[in-house]
């Protein structure tokens, strides 16, 4: 008997014209690792919340059909009853904690369930070990890194010993290493304890290999596609680079891991040999003639220390007009601090920073930001107006401009960013990708010559990422210098000209994207891992030189 059964489930949120799920029927077996995929807004969260009854008990709205989990009908049993069967982990690690200390957090559900103290202590020890977080037991949750917080959240959800663990994009707010830690923990729980895992996730390249089944939600209100990972990958269009290449070249069975892909890559060895010698630009220019134009952004020997810690140690970085520089490196290596120094949010102890030849050291943030557009990590912090269009007008007003004197006409800008259709909507009601682009629009409206982006693709699905890449390339072609902090190697491989790697507050490598990415072991794209030559970084590279 299946553990989870959706029987012709249709669900509509309150005040929503169209259903979020329409006639969904599926069955999930106990002990499976189930991956739920689909674009933002396709109903992944809704589907997961049906499993523990948050939909419809918490969300409101209208549910028809029946969801049965471990023999319990969710229409009859509210989430607090389902908690004993289904553990749930949310996207934002910080927003799900009730107490201050890790141990108390793990015990919270047990205390509420009235579990005797001795049993409770045993359970807490068990989940601490299951997630490998015993060393964190006395820490304050607010002092943990995102990856640690998310593992604590998983442990807290497991304290009641549920049979199913549902996770709603638990890694979308994390950097790659933390995401890896969380996913690794899930794989272990699934393999060792036989826990059923239902995971919504964007980074297919990381989890596809572990999935027993994939549920693909094409769009809101369409019937899901459920099946073996390989079969589903054949049918969907937005796939990781390896799968995209495999499909384009007709590799069968479709490779899901680099290891599987290498077998096929070996058969392409003739072409590879011919390509591997030099680095001519193909498809897109890898470098522009240097020395012709002076750099628009010129940072020299910047030193920054705060709280007695050296955050930047003699950083030198420049970007020319129309150049796309990717800034990569571990969390805490100083990437964001560099951006904050450039726009004057923190004051470096020494160093020069010039924008368009003008010294910006000591200028106010507002003045610097007329020429330097900076989109911080959390775009929501920027947005507050009642409509997308108003966000642009607010920035203009801040700089003493209006619609007529704006360097870019707001309507035109919204058009290029694909936001024209939502111009009058409330920004926070939009999808993650649209919110990110609204934030981008609100800084681009002054037509800055330099654009600083801090992890713009965090939490975006493949489609939203592709849209954003297109927009950035458009601005790059218009002569904007772009510096982007990112962990996303695939994104860097498709759009950057240069890569700078930071470590411990210093830039340790700065060079053309092909050199840096192919010489690195961690910062290397899937395709590059497959072929191991600087000439092949992306699917397009391979297809162009077949």
């Amino acid at each position: 008997m299946p553990q989870v059964t959706f029987d012709c489930v249709t669900f509509t949120y309150p005040d929503s014209p169209a259903p979020a799920l329409r006639e969904v029927s599926l069955e999930l077996e106990a002990g499976q690792f189930v991956l739920v995929i689909g674009a933002s807004g396709s109903g992944k969260s809704t589907l997961l919340r049906c499993i523990n009854g948050l939909v419809p008990h918490f969300s409101g709205g209208k549910l028809t059909g029946r969801v049965t989990v471990d023999g319990l009908d969710t229409r009859v049993h509210p989430p607090r009853d389902m908690a004993a069967v289904v553990g749930f982990v949310f996207q934002n690690p910080e927003a799900q904690f009730v107490t201050e200390r890790v141990e108390d957090e793990l015990a919270f559900a047990l205390e509420n369930a009235g579990v005797p103290q001795l049993t409770m202590r045993k359970r807490v020890e068990e989940v601490l070990d299951a997630l490998g977080i015993a060393s964190l037991r006395n820490r304050a949750v607010s002092s943990l890194s995102g990856g640690e917080q998310q593992r604590v959240a998983i442990a807290a959800a497991l304290a009641l010993q549920p049979k199913i663990l549902a996770l709603d994009e638990p890694t979308s707010q994390l950097d790659p290493q933390s995401a890896e830690d969380v996913l690794g923990a899930l794989v272990r729980l699934n393999a060792d304890l036989g826990l059923t895992i239902v995971l919504a996730e964007h980074r297919l390249e990381r989890v596809l290999q572990f999935a027993d089944r994939v549920v693909f939600l094409p769009e809101a209100g369409a019937a899901p596609l459920v099946g073996d990972p390989r079969d589903v990958m054949e049918a969907v269009s937005l796939t990781p680079p390896l799968v995209t290449l495999g499909k384009a070249l007709g590799w069968k069975p479709l490779p899901l891991t680099i290891k599987e892909g290498r077998r096929f890559a070996g058969t392409l060895s003739v072409e590879r040999g011919a390509l591997s010698d030099d680095l001519p630009p193909f498809g897109r220019p890898t470098s522009r003639p240097s020395g012709v134009r002076p750099p628009v952004l010129d940072v020299r020997d910047v030193w920054l220390a705060y709280d007695g810690k050296e955050v930047l140690r003699g950083v030198t970085l420049s970007a020319r007009a129309g150049e796309f520089v990717a800034l990569m490196g571990r969390n805490g290596s100083g990437k964001t601090s560099l951006f904050r120094s450039i726009v004057g949010l923190v004051k470096p102890q020494r160093g020069q920073m010039r924008v368009n030849g003008q010294d910006v050291v000591g200028q106010s943030t507002a003045d610097i930001c007329r020429q330097v557009g900076y989109v911080p990590q959390n775009p929501d912090a920027l947005l507050f107006a009642d409509a997308v269009r108003d966000e642009l007008l607010v920035t203009l007003r801040n700089h003493g401009l209006d619609e007529t004197t704006a360097p870019v006409a707001p309507g035109e800008l919204l058009d290029t960013l694909g936001l024209a259709s939502v111009a009058s909507l409330y920004p926070r009601d939009l999808s993650a990708g649209q919110r990110q682009r609204t934030a981008l629009a609100s800084v681009l409206v002054t037509r800055p010559q330099v654009l600083l982006l801090d992890e713009p693709t965090r939490g975006l699905d493949y489609a939203a990422k592709a849209t954003l890449t297109g927009i950035l390339k458009h601005w790059q072609a218009q002569g904007t210098a772009i510096v982007m902090v990112t962990h996303d190697v695939e994104l860097v491989a498709t759009c950057a000209d240069r890569v700078a790697l930071m470590a411990e507050g210093e830039i340790i490598v700065d060079g053309p994207v092909r050199h840096v990415l192919s010489e690195s072991t961690i910062f290397s794209s899937q395709i590059n891992k497959l072929f191991g030559t600087p000439s092949l970084l992306t699917v397009d590279d391979v297809l162009a030189h077949r």
Partner: protein, 348 residues
């Protein structure tokens, strides 16, 4: 880790001493004890430097009293009588008395802020009676929200600054407040969802009765409380004994209500054992000795505790035995925590 109850005893003892003994010499002893304990237990992120506040209070209180109180025989300077309020002699006595009152305030403040250092708010919440657990939980969540909100405020302020935002008028505040409030609201909804998903509130339902079906405890408690108040007022006006009767009956109702509420409270258990060690007993003992000593002296010979500089300032009396007793309040400084409390927060 010392028990929260033992700490409460220590704090109660220190506060009582600071309130009963206005003699600056004794206050200085308590203040030094508090400083020692702070050095041993402080998590280092005290929101307000206590000594700076203390110096300010003492200075203010000294000047205030010196300028407004014109008694005392040691005149330092005489201000023109034409000045309202402050005009007249400024005496050393008035200044000394003001300083001693300021010192008392400083001591009270220093001891109360230690509460935050030695007992985490969550431990305090756990000490609340069972039927108040809901309220305790709300407070605990609120406390967790404060640092989160401070962080998002910094984020929002920076995000608006890079859009050229400057604070020029009330209208500009919306750019800071609206994102902050929407963010907090979103987080609150997420938290509610997370708590629901973890079975919060399940036990009340599974007892087989709706939690709202029985209003008796609420009626008894509210009725009892108002009855006590009414009884006290009646007694204060008419003094005929009826007030006492009302007061007594209401008190009984109040106690019944509390007991009933406790028995109705959700059946939850506690994870943390509030272990009571020999060190806790020691701490209570070291707190009890100065407490008993000060109370006894206050009843038998209050002059020893009080500093009254008028009409002519004299060095305050000092009883060495009492001083030694009070020094016991510094004992917890020697009971350093074995487990590191809290952790250093890491900038994301």
């Amino acid at each position: 880790m010392l028990n929260a109850r033992a700490w409460l005893m220590w704090i109660a003892a220190s506060l009582t001493v600071a309130m009963l003994a206005t003699n600056p010499l004794y206050l200085v002893i308590v203040l030094l004890c508090a400083a020692l304990v702070r050095a041993g237990f402080s998590t280092g992120d005290s929101p307000l430097p206590v000594w700076r506040f203390g110096v300010m209070v003492v200075a203010f209180s000294t000047f205030y009293n010196a300028l407004l109180t014109h008694f005392g025989s040691t005149v330092l300077v005489t201000l023109p009588r034409a000045l309202p309020l402050v005009g007249g002699p400024v005496t050393l006595e008035a200044a000394a008395f003001g300083a001693s009152r300021g010192l008392a305030l400083w001591t009270l403040f220093a001891v109360s802020t230690l509460l935050n250092d030695v007992i985490s708010p969550y431990e305090l919440v756990r000490l609340t009676p069972r039927f108040l657990r809901q309220a305790g939980l709300v407070i605990s969540i609120m406390l967790a929200f404060v640092p989160q909100t401070v962080r998002s405020f910094h984020q929002v302020r920076e995000a608006q600054a890079i859009r050229g935002h400057r604070l020029r008028g009330v209208r500009d505040l919306t750019a800071l407040l609206v994102p902050l409030m929407t963010d907090s609201l979103e987080k609150a909804v997420q938290l509610a969802e997370a708590m629901e998903a973890r079975g919060y509130g399940k036990s009340q339902i599974s007892k087989g009765q709706s939690p709202t079906s029985d209003f008796r405890p609420q009626v008894l408690m509210v009725g009892g409380l108002s009855g006590v108040l009414v009884g006290w007022l009646v007694e204060a006006y008419w003094r005929n004994g009826i007030g006492w009767a009302i007061l007594g009956a209401s008190a009984v109702a109040l106690v019944l209500g509390v007991r009933l509420a406790s028995s109705h409270a959700s059946r939850t258990t506690h994870y943390r054992r509030q272990a009571w060690s020999a060190r806790d007993t020691l701490l209570v003992a070291f707190s009890a000795v100065p407490l008993v000593a000060v109370v006894a002296v206050a009843l038998l010979d209050p002059q020893v505790l009080v500093f009254y500089p008028y009409p002519r300032v004299m060095p305050p009396p000092f009883d060495v035995r009492l001083g030694l007793c009070l020094a016991l309040l510094g004992a917890p400084a020697l009971m350093r925590p074995s487990v590191e409390r809290g952790a250093v927060s890491v900038e994301a």
